[in-house]
């Protein structure tokens, strides 16, 4: 649910990083936080356990500049990936404008990816959204690891849209593909605003 404030000429969009546990959602946010101009970002908030696993969400506000005279802000959220935090994941999807699914490219995580994407579809539905109709991109993370599935295999298993949603290869720990993915979804979100509701 984009929040457009005509009085102060601002537009705020909510982007959610979704994916199985340890796939690199928080790492994506950390990279964006480190590489963004201090004037353009707020604090990175991580509600994590003592072992740095996301407990509720990470949050990073980004102020990117103006589009057509409107100050454009993106609020980036991650969800906790571990299966038993499903109630929290549902809450964070509330009012989402765009979703990035971060998939773990390691062969042994393919089942977890598929399970998480099915979970995403169910949870979106419970908030009244359909994955097929909202701005959505797929990030294949950890491409630098030795035991990865091929891009084609992953597309086959994880793409849900027809024609397929945009796919970005990434290595979030080194920053490869991180901004490309964000830009990809931002473009879809802003383009979505041009449609009438």
């Amino acid at each position: 649910m984009t929040f457009i404030n005509y009085a102060s000429r601002e537009i705020n969009c909510k982007i959610v990083y979704y994916g199985p546990g340890l796939c690199g959602k928080t790492t994506n946010l950390q990279w964006i936080y480190e590489k963004t101009n201090p004037n353009a970002k707020g604090k990175l908030i991580s509600l994590a356990t003592e072992t740095d696993r996301t407990l509720f969400f990470d949050f990073l506000p980004l102020e990117l500049g103006t589009v057509r005279g409107f100050k454009t802000r993106f609020h980036l959220y991650t969800v906790p990936g571990q299966v038993f935090y499903d109630a929290s994941r549902k809450l964070i999807l509330k009012g989402v404008d765009g979703v990035i699914f971060v998939a773990d490219s390691q062969v042994e995580r393919m089942d977890a990816n598929v399970e998480a994407i099915e979970n995403l579809m169910v949870n979106l539905k419970s908030q009244g959204y359909d994955l097929l109709n909202i701005p959505y991109v797929l990030q294949l993370n950890k491409r630098d690891l030795p035991n990865v599935a091929t891009v084609d295999e992953m597309k086959q298993a994880l793409q849900r849209k027809n024609p397929g949603e945009p796919v970005y290869e990434a290595c979030a720990a080194r920053g490869t593909g991180v901004f490309e993915t964000l830009k990809g979804v931002a473009k879809l979100v802003l383009a979505d605003l041009t449609k009438t509701q």
């Binding site: 404030n5 604090k43 009244g128």
Partner: protein, 165 residues
Amino acid sequence: MAAPDIVMYEEEFNQIKGIIAKLRVDANSKVVFLVDKNGQQIAAHGDIENLDTTSLASLTAGNVAATDGLARLIGEKEFSILFHEGEKDNIHISIVASRVILVVIFDERSSLGLVRLRVKKASEELNRVFSNIMAKVEKERASTGTTFESPFAEITDEDIDSLFS
């Protein structure tokens, strides 16, 4: 989209700012701010220079969402008021018009009773303003077939690229 977008017009925005400014004085509080349930800040008033209001807004919404979840688990519709007591400062959180969150931060110069009393009155006024906004959006939709005239109707790839340059 699942829910209609919130659109804030100048007239209502000024009314809201007036209401929360008055509430801040009446409740003898430090800060009053209004957030939508998705964590977007709508308006703030008071000593906000040293306050990270964006994070405050997002965490408040997360807090309310989690508490809503708890409420439903035990068969309640919602917990309409949350109160956090600190050593010096306290936070009073309440839901207005089922969709926005009113947050009052106060210290020993005020009291929970006073804040509750003033929040109740301000909530009624805010309720009216938000009903007006919704009516306006509905009316606009009925007359033009859209919720609002999107300022992004002619957005180009260059516009988006320039955001990330």
